[in-house]
């Protein structure tokens, strides 16, 4: 009998243990086991409503403005029917013990239930102005002069839809803040002057050495009359001469689109203005009328070859659509210049050929190399001279040229400091789930 009583005692103890352990081992409700991620839903809802800055506009409006009703409707329409919300907008204050002050609240329910999640989103007023002061190239060392070809006596090719002047103006607007002196080369006579080391402006900052020269004529290069001759290879020799000058002055020569040095152009010269480039453009001639001798001659001069050697071999490839390199994308964000992420390259230069034949190494990839060819890069000769080649198809996006030069020189941007007081608001969207367990 004692044994049975003992066993009954054991059973009582076990029962007690089970009840006590069950009391502590509370299982979650199914909703807690597999919850809808309300926090993410709230954040993505705020991002969606702000896609065209509608949310940013609305939260700075007075609480009786009709746009708050639009926001209410948009919130109700975008959330599932079983989700209730409370949206609170806080004004961000500074110099105050209270950092956040409620500006307005909207909700579609008296209570959000016991289980809620919230996401916050900081928006800036459209009245905020953001200023920066760029560092000038050449400010801390050499160079600092930008020459932009704006030659009135030369045509462009493969800049379809633009005249060189349009491109020159756009480049001026984009790049002049970054250079100590930005000078338009107005005609081929002025080009001849800088090729021969003479200044063409009264700017005290003009400096021939270490300058940047942008050829806005696309596949054509302006040629001064003095270099147009009668012998067969005058045009290729001119390209060689330009290459020599790039080396001599340690210039950065920028080719904005297509084959560099494919044509030469001068619309005033009596001999050249009667010739056409094969496509009905008079005052322009294809260099040697065969292959790609122009670019090869230029690179020979750039590499310091003792004399011009005829070479018409093509060292380009058609790569199709290629994305910008990661470094360029970083520069897009830094400088706030956003060309299309993808560009079509039909004139990509061979990286190995440029290195082996002309001692040109890639200093900055604008596009990554693909199958040994580079759609766009800044090349630096091991001795002197820099060459930017964007082997893209027409029509040129001049922002890429600007971005390439900025990526290479990396001038810093000094941001203006500004306070967030009155210009920023914190939006908190709290969501609750109704019904079910």
């Amino acid at each position: 009998m004692m044994r049975t009583i003992e066993i009954l005692l054991v059973i009582i103890i076990l029962t007690g243990a089970f009840i006590i352990s069950s009391f502590f081992a509370v299982l979650p409700s199914p909703r807690q086991v597999s919850p809808t991620n309300l926090q993410r839903l709230a954040l993505t809802t705020l991002q969606t409503l702000d896609v065209d800055h509608d949310l940013s506009d609305t939260v700075f409006k007075l609480s009786n403005d009709s746009e708050w009703n639009d926001l209410k409707v948009a919130l109700s329409a975008s959330l599932p029917p079983n989700i209730v919300y409370n949206l609170t907008v806080y004004e961000v204050q500074t110099g105050n013990t209270q950092l956040y002050k409620i500006a307005n609240t909207i909700s579609n329910a008296e209570s959000l239930g016991v289980s809620t999640s919230a996401a916050s989103y900081l928006v800036a007023s459209s009245n905020v102005t953001f200023n920066f002061t760029p560092e000038k190239i050449g400010e801390r060392g050499y160079g600092g002069t930008l020459y932009i070809m704006n030659c009135s006596d030369a045509y462009g090719w493969w800049i379809t839809g633009y005249a060189p002047r349009n491109l020159a103006e756009d480049l001026y607007n984009l790049l002049s803040p970054y250079f100590q002196a930005t000078i338009m080369v107005q005609n081929t006579s002025q080009l001849e002057m800088i090729l021969n080391g003479a200044k063409i402006s009264s700017s005290p900052y003009e400096n021939i050495a270490n300058a940047v020269v942008i050829n806005t004529c696309g596949e054509a290069v302006p040629i001064p009359s003095g270099y147009i001759a009668t012998q067969d290879d005058w045009d290729a020799k001119y390209c060689y001469f330009v290459g020599q000058k790039v080396r001599e002055y340690n210039w950065t020569w920028a080719s904005i689109v297509g084959y560099p040095f494919y044509y030469v152009s001068n619309t005033d010269n009596k001999d050249l203005k009667t010739q056409d480039n094969g496509w009905g453009i008079f005052g322009m001639r294809k260099v040697l009328d065969a292959g790609q001798p122009g670019i090869n001659a230029f690179l020979e001069g750039l590499d310091g070859w003792p004399s011009y050697v005829y070479d018409s071999a093509g060292r380009t490839a058609e790569l199709g659509t290629r994305p910008l390199s990661s470094g360029t994308i970083e520069s897009c964000n830094y400088y706030g210049i956003y060309p299309s992420y993808y560009q079509t390259s039909s004139r990509a230069l061979s990286e190995s050929a440029l290195k082996q034949l002309y001692d040109l190494n890639v200093a900055t990839y604008i596009f990554d190399s693909y199958n040994g060819y580079v759609p766009g890069a800044v090349y630096k000769n091991i001795n002197s001279g820099v060459f930017l080649a964007l082997g893209l198809t027409r029509t040129p996006d001049i922002r890429l040229t600007a971005l390439a030069l900025l990526s290479y020189y990396r001038p810093r941007l000094y941001r203006s400091t500004y306070t967030t007081a009155g210009t920023s608001r914190l939006v908190v969207l709290q969501l609750g789930q109704m019904g079910g367990i």
Partner: protein
């Protein structure tokens, strides 16, 4: 002695019985806890996987344009951050819901994301990513099954209230949980002229409108005086950052019509086929004269036409499918008007799923699956508000063997 033994036997029996009972009870609690733990893991995996697909463009980042299969799976638009999806990556997901379409002319099979008659999106199987590839790239092959649904947040429904004199179209705009009241509408109305020879011509008109407090709007078109005039209406609705899109068309020829088929995405080429190449209806196949155009939506939600090369042509029994090139990589709507001797109509195809707010369902059928975890994100596809919903379940069973 006997009493003591009996006492022992009774005590032991009761003890063993009680022990068994409590082991069972404890085991039941433990089983439930472990089961819950497993389900919690599935729910976490669902959230992670959805973010992984939404916040990653895949690799190559422009895989929707350049090649058939990415080496890493993701749907984010590579030109943006946050939850912005590429309308062209979505185009390249093999549809779960649409029935496969075969073109008898080129013997190719097509993934079908068609949203009713006249609104086609047919992409060759050779150019879409199938479910097994996606699971392999996501690292869930054999461990989890999923279904991804990307549906527009705003539904713009259009119906015909009066067929002519004037044509009156009723528009209703609603969100997931509420009608979109006092929303701004902007529309493009295309009227097809079947009298034009030899190709049909079309005229376009544009206009704004507003919805009432219930999300309804009435659009009258007095220029439509004939019940048999084909037309198409495309309506954009926007309010407070939400943008939705709807469309409606009327045709007089529902058996003999043109079918646009994606030919090669990397070349931006589209095939124009005769409907009989897809499924013959029995009657004699007649030549169809078509006239195509491409419309883009601008930032202020108006539509703009973009000229196309070789925009007119003929398809029919003795004529091959025609190839056209879309002139842009921006999303838009490819519109084809067509006619035969007596009838005609208008067909639309989105270039990028968002331009016609198509719903994309990708993955496996979840019917009969146990304990399906779901999660939702609000996403943007080329400025159109969408909701991405992922349903995920374990393929390794969900029971705990106790």
């Amino acid at each position: 002695m006997a009493g003591s033994t009996i006492d022992h036997i009774v005590a032991l029996t009761v003890f063993l019985g009680a022990l068994l009972l409590f082991i069972t009870l404890f085991n039941q609690t433990l089983q439930t806890a472990v089961l819950y733990q497993q389900h919690k893991v599935i729910a976490s995996k669902c959230t992670d996987m959805l973010d992984n697909m939404m916040l990653n463009p895949g690799y190559p980042t422009n895989w929707s344009w350049i090649g058939p299969t990415p080496t890493s799976f993701g749907l984010q638009d590579p030109e943006f951050t946050q939850y912005k999806l590429s309308p062209f990556s979505l185009m390249r997901l093999r549809s779960l819901t649409g029935q496969r379409v075969d073109n008898t002319r080129n013997n190719m099979a097509y993934s079908n994301i068609t949203m009713g008659f006249g609104n086609f999106l047919l992409v060759p199987y050779t150019q879409v990513v199938n479910y097994s590839t996606a699971t392999a790239l996501l690292g869930t092959n054999g461990s989890y099954g999923f279904q991804l649904t990307i549906a527009p947040t705003i539904t713009v429904s259009i119906s015909e209230s009066k067929s002519s004199n004037p044509l009156i179209l009723a528009v209703n705009v609603a969100g997931k949980g509420f009608p979109l009241s006092i929303a701004n509408l902007s529309y493009c109305f295309l009227t097809v002229n079947l009298q034009s020879e030899p190709y049909p011509s079309y005229t376009t008109s544009y206009g704004p409108a507003y919805t009432d407090s219930e999300g309804n709007a009435i659009l009258p078109f007095p220029e439509i005086t004939d019940d048999n005039t084909p037309y198409a209406l495309i309506v954009y609705a926007h309010l407070g950052g939400l943008v939705g899109l709807g469309y409606h068309q009327r045709v007089t020829s529902t058996q003999q019509y043109v079918v646009p088929l994606i030919d090669d995405l990397s070349q931006k080429s589209v095939l124009i086929a005769h409907s009989y190449d897809i499924h013959p209806f029995g009657a004699t196949e007649e030549d169809l004269y078509y006239n195509a155009t491409f419309v883009l939506v601008t930032e202020d939600f108006t539509l703009r036409e973009m000229p196309m090369d070789n925009s007119t042509g003929v398809v029919g029994q003795a004529k091959p499918n025609r190839v056209m090139t879309i002139p842009t990589t921006n999303p838009g709507i490819f519109v084809v008007t067509y006619k035969n001797a007596t009838e005609g109509g208008i067909i639309m195809m989105p270039w990028g799923t968002s331009s016609m707010a198509f719903t994309v369902t990708f993955g496996e059928d979840m019917t009969g699956k146990e304990w399906v975890a779901t999660d939702t994100r609000q996403v943007i596809v080329d400025n159109i508000a969408y909701q991405a919903k992922l349903a995920l379940w374990s393929l390794k069973g969900y029971q705990v063997i106790g």
